[in-house]
Amino acid sequence: MVNQLVERICQKDQRAMSELYQMYIGELSSVCYRYVPNSDDAKDVLQNSFVKIFTSIPTLEYRGEEQFHGWLVRIVANEALLFLRNKKKLLFTEQDETKWQQADIADEAPDTERITPDELHQLISELPDGYRTVLNLYVFENYSHRQIAELLGIKEGTSASQLYYAKQWLSRRIKEITMGKR
């Protein structure tokens, strides 16, 4: 199914492009909004992503649907990062680095079962840009702090502290929401 679409897109079949778009746009929109909550900005990012996707597909070695899916998500995430860097929207809140190092790892975990994906997505989009970006890269893209530091041109420690505060904030908000549900 997807491999046929990919093949047709290689042949510049515009209908196939439209089908591929329809197939993945919901999920890729979610990914994009997770990095770039503003709708106009997200539109730019997604537009650039799809242009890149369609133009890169002919050079892509198709290795199955799962990998293709991962590739699509990565393109969107990269475009989003590019956007955030170009826009200089990444303001990292530098805080006392010792604090996160001493942070109690046994902090009570929030009850993520009781929160809906939409609520969770909304909470992530409410995070400050710096927190959100690092959280996205570390948690969702499985980057290490070293990689994130290279990618964003920040110190490893900054990446780790951003993540720490992002998690603190998120945990608190999830708890607030789940408390409210009781």
Binding site: S30, K43, F50, A109, P110, P117
Partner: protein, 409 residues
């Protein structure tokens, strides 16, 4: 060393979907020079099917009332009485031609929500005074056509500003408020030579006989407009309801002009078996989006609304059975009645003059209904304003119109 709960949130958002930003596919196809997305197009077409069905219903309703009124003796009495009043110093009765109520369409910005209501009201009656000695019996024979069907498609304030469109109050009168004695013709002519048209919709369906009028520009071919050239790049007959034109102006403003939407109502008078005159009133809606290439958050939507009067001639080439072929030519003069850039009102409200020619094919479903299809080509003169709009990009605009014509007995 990730805590479990962050893994959980990752899992939670796996496969999560969100509604894409508006206009995304348009942007992509614009960038990639793609055809518009088939799926929304078909959805749009379905909308036009609904619009077409609504138009047919309205006309059928119109006729139902029309026939009903015919058999109402009170109508005649009323008519006589008022006729006498209006011509107090003329002892004999005045023959009234059929009083025709024009179907009125009010235009919605969002044709997706189409509500059909049937109302009665009076608009631009066509009245003639003829021989004063005509008998009362003849008056009785006359059709007092009072009913109007009206499409009301979520009226916009702009739409109701139009003088004709504004008469939406429910009233039933059997004589026009204004008698126009200079519009005269014999009874037999009066009852057979007029036809009415209902125009509505953007694109596929033109429920209208307004064929001197370059109605909705459905682009048969798409135009791509780059910095240096305008080119007709695709000659396939598509009914794309969106046109993507992309002009890269020096300061990198990307403009996208949506297809003009035009609605109206029209009137046709048959001069002789092959020649007919057309006029009417039209309402056009032009939307353009402007985006700054490097700062997409700076985007503007321009909305222009025009009221216009078409004038034209049609010439029947051939007719057999219920089928006829004809050519039309005409002009349309339009005045911008409202111009907005995003939420700001623009000062300039230019006039727009255009000429157009079309070839039409019409099929008579019944003696009184004609369904037609008209590919046409219009030329829109430069309005000498600073406003950028569809017709500036495409002064020569091909379009295709669908419509319904109603021939009065």
């Amino acid at each position: 060393m990730k805590e479990d709960w962050t893994k959980q949130i990752k899992q939670k958002l796996e496969g999560h979907q969100m509604t894409p930003p508006a206009g995304l596919w348009e942007g992509i196809s614009n960038e990639m020079n793609l055809e518009p997305k088939p799926a929304p197009k078909s959805a749009m077409i379905r909308r036009w099917y609904w619009a077409a069905a609504a138009a047919v219903l309205a006309i059928v309703g119109f006729f139902a009332f029309y026939q009903f009124d015919d058999s109402e003796p009170q109508l005649v009495a009323n008519n006589e009485q008022t006729a006498v009043e209006k011509t107090a110093n003329q002892p004999s009765a005045i023959e009234e031609k059929p009083i025709i109520e024009k179907p009125v369409i009010t235009v919605s910005q969002k044709p997706t929500h189409l509500a059909l209501t049937t109302r009665t009201h009076q608009a631009e009656p066509i009245v003639t005074e003829t021989n004063e000695t005509e008998s009362m019996q003849e008056i009785a024979e006359e059709n007092n056509l009072q009913e109007t069907t009206e499409y009301q498609q979520q009226e916009t304030p702009e739409a109701t500003e139009a003088p004709v469109l504004a008469t939406t109050e429910k009233k039933r009168t059997y004589l026009p408020d204004v008698v126009e004695p200079d519009v005269t013709s014999s009874k037999s002519e009066a009852t057979s030579k007029w036809s009415l048209g209902l125009n509505g919709s953007n694109g596929l369906l033109m429920a209208s006989n307004n064929y001197a009028n370059d109605m909705n520009a459905i682009t048969i071919s798409r135009f791509y407009n780059d910095a240096n050239s305008n080119g007709l790049s695709n000659s396939s007959f598509t009914s794309d309801l969106s046109d993507y034109s992309n002009s890269n102006i020096q300061n990198s403003v990307i403009s996208k002009h949506h297809l003009p939407i035009r609605f109206g109502l029209s009137l046709q008078y048959q001069l002789n078996p092959s020649l007919a005159l057309n006029s009417g009133i039209s309402y056009s809606y032009l939307v353009s989006d402007f985006n700054m290439a490097y700062n997409q958050s700076n985007s503007y939507t321009q909305k222009l609304r025009y009221l216009g009067v078409p004038l034209g001639v049609s010439w029947k080439l051939w007719q057999t059975g219920g089928f006829s072929l004809y050519l039309t030519g005409g002009a349309l003069i339009e005045k911008c009645i409202s111009a907005y850039m995003s939420d700001d009102k623009m000062d300039s409200q230019p006039w727009q003059l255009s000429i157009n020619a079309s070839a039409g094919a019409e099929y008579h479903i019944t003696r009184q209904f004609g369904l037609y299809l008209e590919p046409s080509l219009g030329y829109y003169f430069d309005d000498n304003s600073s406003i950028e709009h569809y017709y500036k990009e495409h002064p020569l605009a091909p379009s295709i119109q669908f419509g319904l014509r109603l021939y009065l007995k």
